[in-house]
């Protein structure tokens, strides 16, 4: 068994060789982020990491924050809570002062418990479960929480009388999707529509949706609510088209990105409504600048995860400036300063104008309803 130990030592040695320390301690603000960069959820983690890098470079080019540069370290967690905690500890060893993460909900819950113990400032760009920021008063959120989305969707559908019979297709093995569905269902009881079919799929069988669609069709649904990510949604739309089922479609923020799927026939998404804080087609300067740069660097259109992460960097920047923080503060002191500053700042970002935070540590922004017409988002 000695050879195993030999292997381990070689691996350690090579790992040390690769690690770099470019800046001296206390001269830069060290921002860490954690998300799935490999594994089935990699597309979300990579979008976040790309956008943070882009924003950090922008901030640094413009002279940094309080005269200091930002330094960014992305870590992979494969969408696994245990690996996420490992990634968090790696970042602590690196000297992280603030965490802009994690990307997905379940790992975020585990990491935020650790961060609360350490009094480490945590701003999750896209962890939407309520528990993601519940462990301590050190955690804030950029995106909407699951209840926000589920309740807002049900209210929107009810108030605008979009449908009388609603079917839901959701991913029962996913925290995000199941979380939104649960709150949607709760609010639906108060709304003038009826949920006629609630069909689930799981991570292990998400290629064929014919049954879910057939049931929705047989139940006479005139609107299908999909609290899921765009990848599965694109398959659902394709399969519904093949079987000649054409209800109204309604999605949530995870749906954003459906128009960017390479080779997807956008005509299928015609009329799809979604609640999203961000659309890559928006014509304001902030969005145009972000989308152009992102496409230039990474060769694809940014999805909503990227927008939340980009905003996250500017939120941290605003909070650091408000608090007058300096890079030589330790993580805990910085966290106390940022906690206070967060409730005082107002940030205009890609995902909302005039975002503020109160003691609930949730962002105050309203989801915008958009509808896809002729292959682009149009506000409703």
């Amino acid at each position: 068994m000695k050879k195993l130990i030999r292997f381990a030592s070689i691996a350690c040695a090579s790992a040390m060789l690769f690690s770099t320390t470019a800046f001296a301690e206390g001269e830069t603000f060290k921002i860490g982020s954690i998300g799935p960069m490999t594994g089935a959820a990699a597309t979300y983690g990579n979008a976040v990491m790309n956008a943070i890098q882009l924003a950090v470079d922008e901030v640094n080019e413009a002279g940094g924050v309080n005269g200091a540069m930002l330094e960014f370290n992305p870590q992979d967690d494969e969408n696994d809570a245990e690996k996420s905690v490992n990634a968090y500890n790696t970042l602590k060893d690196w000297g992280m002062q603030m965490l802009l993460g994690t990307v997905t909900s379940a790992p975020c819950i585990a990491v935020s418990a650790e961060a609360a113990n350490d009094n480490m400032f945590l701003l999750t760009p896209s962890g939407s479960a309520v528990e993601c920021i519940a462990a301590g008063d050190n955690a804030f959120r950029v995106c909407f929480s699951d209840p926000d989305q589920g309740t807002a969707s049900a209210k929107y559908i009810g108030e605008n009388k979009l449908a009388e019979k609603v079917a839901v297709i959701y991913d029962s093995s996913d925290v995000y999707s199941a979380g939104i569905y649960a709150t949607f269902q709760a609010e639906a009881a108060n709304q003038p529509f009826e949920i006629v079919a609630a069909e689930a799929f799981t991570a292990d069988s998400k290629t064929d949706f014919s049954v879910q669609l057939q049931k929705a069709k047989d139940a006479g649904a005139d609107l299908v609510y999909m609290p899921i990510y765009y990848n599965e949604a694109s398959l659902i739309l394709t399969q519904a088209d093949a079987m000649g089922f054409a209800p109204k479609w309604f999605g949530v923020d995870g749906m954003d990105g459906i128009l960017t799927v390479e080779g997807f026939d956008t005509a299928l998404a015609e009329g799809l409504m979604l609640l999203t804080p961000f659309s890559a087609d928006a014509q304001d300067d902030l969005t145009k600048n972000f989308v152009t740069k992102y496409e230039e660097l990474y060769g694809e259109e940014p999805i909503q995860f990227a927008a939340d992460a980009y905003d996250g960097v500017y939120i941290i920047k605003a909070a650091l400036e408000k608090a007058g923080a300096t890079p030589d503060m330790d993580a805990s002191a910085l966290c106390d300063a940022l906690k206070a500053a967060m409730t005082e700042i107002t940030v205009d970002g890609l995902t909302g104008a005039g975002m503020t935070w109160d003691e609930t540590r949730e962002p105050s922004k309203e989801p915008k309803a958009v509808v896809i017409q002729d292959g682009v988002y149009v506000g409703m």
Partner: protein, 294 residues
């Protein structure tokens, strides 16, 4: 009517499982190894075909041929580097673990080259959908092509194994490697040929899988791969008609389970049926009895 519709959907899904299972069972039958990387070879086949179609705008049929060539070469290379050195290892589990390593390797190399965002696959099937009963029942062109391909492959493979010299050599190797070598059969070459055919079939399966369910990511192959493995066991692993029947049954059970029992528990139902089948027939539907030597 909706029952018929479910049945047809099950048949379509099952035909995809069946075509993957054919490659699986072929490699298992001859080389006696569970090739966990098979699902990822399928994914590579999908990417190869997609790249050809997007980059060069070639005819889909040419793209399929290219994908088959790429995967055949890949299969032979994997066998040579990762599996052959372990063929005489003290435990058959060694090569199983290496196959898992190969599976991780393929996923991550594709992730690095093509990125993590899912790609929409353009169907290579030009056949229109078949509409029955005034449009209430739809059999997609992809499903028809997949089922026909399955049957053709099954017949060709069976004929190849029973009628050609190379096929007979495969049978001999699967029965007893040592004796086959004594009879002058080149065992290494025969097993390499098995991997070549199995991987070529994987490419075809990949293209058909992605045509039927047009979403391609580096992890597309892993779950269908496991399902196809289950299908192969269902039918009696090593049996070519068994793989086809197993795959189609699996698809139908999955869809009917989803439709009539619970959509959340569809996978659990599939596995429960598998357990029951194996308890009644311990070597699958078409499996050979295990001979016990005293």
């Amino acid at each position: 009517m909706s029952f018929l519709s479910y049945l047809i959907n099950g048949l379509s899904l099952g035909s995809v499982y069946a075509i993957i299972a054919l490659g699986y069972t072929m490699v298992y039958g001859i080389a006696k190894m569970l090739n966990f990387a098979h699902g990822d070879v399928i994914m590579v086949g999908g990417y190869a075909a997609l790249t050809m179609m997007l980059a060069t705008g070639t005819n889909p049929l040419i793209a399929v041929v290219v994908a088959i060539v790429v995967c055949t070469v890949l299969g032979v290379v994997i066998e040579r580097i990762a599996y052959r050195p372990l063929r005489e290892a003290a435990s058959p589990l060694a090569v199983l673990i290496t196959a898992i390593g190969v599976s991780y390797f393929l996923q991550n190399i594709v992730l690095l080259i093509f990125g993590s965002s899912p790609k929409n696959f353009q169907s290579v099937v030009l056949l229109p959908d078949l509409k029955l009963a005034g449009g209430a029942l739809i059999i997609t062109g992809e499903a028809i092509v997949t089922i026909i391909s399955c049957i053709v492959i099954m017949i060709v493979l069976t004929a190849f194994i029973n009628k050609t010299k190379a096929g007979q050599a495969m049978l001999a190797v699967s029965e007893d490697k040592g004796a086959a070598r004594l009879m002058g059969i080149n065992v290494d070459r025969t097993i390499a040929l098995t991997f070549a055919i199995g991987s070529g079939l994987a490419a075809l399966a990949g293209v058909l899988l992605c045509s039927a369910y047009p979403s391609l990511s580096p992890y597309t192959g892993s779950m269908p791969g496991i399902k196809a493995f289950v299908a192969a066991v269902f039918g009696g692993i090593g049996s070519i008609p068994g793989a086809m029947v197993g795959g189609i049954l699996l698809g139908i059970i999955e869809i009917l389970g989803k439709a009539y029992i619970s959509s959340q528990l569809a996978d659990a139902i599939v596995f429960a049926v598998l357990i029951v089948v194996l308890l009644v027939k311990p070597t699958g539907l078409f499996g050979k009895k295990i001979q016990e030597k005293v």
